[in-house]
Symmetry: C2
Subunit: 159 residues, 2 copies
């Protein structure tokens, strides 16, 4: 069943309507709420990735159960329907505090492909994190690259 859930989760991620909502229908409050929700979602990725990263880098002892739990959380988060928070009109030029570049919603955006690559990396992480340290480390490498797929080109750069 685990595999099926993951497949569903990945499908949901990839289909997470980056252009599903017409900007004109969203109120300012909804746009600001969307950014807040997105940032909360990213914070929860970061929390769980931090646990896995500490193990992968040898700063915490490898714990198969804890690694599985964190990877399972990331898979569940990736599977959330995010169509209500990736709204057009929530880019960094439009909303204070947003770091999402308008390129996400551009006609030539490759955000769908980047999202799919992230979904695949999450699936691998969830399958492998609880196996052993070497498997976790390999999966974390893929996750890092997949995160970069959106963070480079679609997010305001760190100073």
């Amino acid at each position: 069943m685990k595999k099926l859930i993951l497949t569903l989760a990945t499908a949901a991620l990839c289909g997470a309507g980056f252009a599903a909502h017409a900007e004109g229908h969203a109120t300012q409050e909804q746009l600001e709420g969307a950014v807040k929700a997105r940032q909360s979602h990213m914070q929860l990725y970061a929390h769980n990735l931090g646990i896995l990263g500490a193990m992968a880098q040898g700063n915490a002892e490898y714990d198969a159960d804890a690694a599985s739990a964190a990877a399972g959380n990331i898979a569940a988060l990736a599977g959330l329907n995010q169509s209500t928070y990736w709204l057009p009109g929530t880019d960094s030029d439009s909303i204070e505090g947003s770091r999402a570049l308008a390129a996400i919603w551009a006609a030539d955006s490759k955000i769908g492909e980047a999202g799919a690559a992230f979904g695949a990396a999450v699936q691998k992480l969830n399958a492998d994190a609880g196996t052993d340290l070497a498997s976790l480390q390999a999966a974390m490498g893929d996750i890092g690259a997949a995160c970069g797929g959106c963070h480079r080109g679609y997010r305001v750069r760190n100073n």
Copy 2:
């Protein structure tokens, strides 16, 4: 399969170790990160409940698909393994910004029962939100009561 996933999710919620970690092992950074993760989790509940609440209160048109999606998100969030962010030492007396009362971790805490009641209400919401407006409204009433089960007595009160 939906029922099985929900059962697993509820089980995970109820078992989400409120006392699973020994305070002595967590660094200050981990304690602060735990509070941040918790608040992000609550923010995502609020985002999805806001969508459902607007429909239930007649401020937005009832949309079965959108209601199902939001309720599914809440169920998935409730199913996350939260043992790394409900750490002892993260109560409002110990960490700035935390609104969690130390009563959560007290020997006579009834937080487990409150969590179980919330899990049951989430399960009902996820089953009923996409049926029709009346079913959503009924399920939302139960959710409100279940939220109160933790927010009254275990959270610093609103001013």
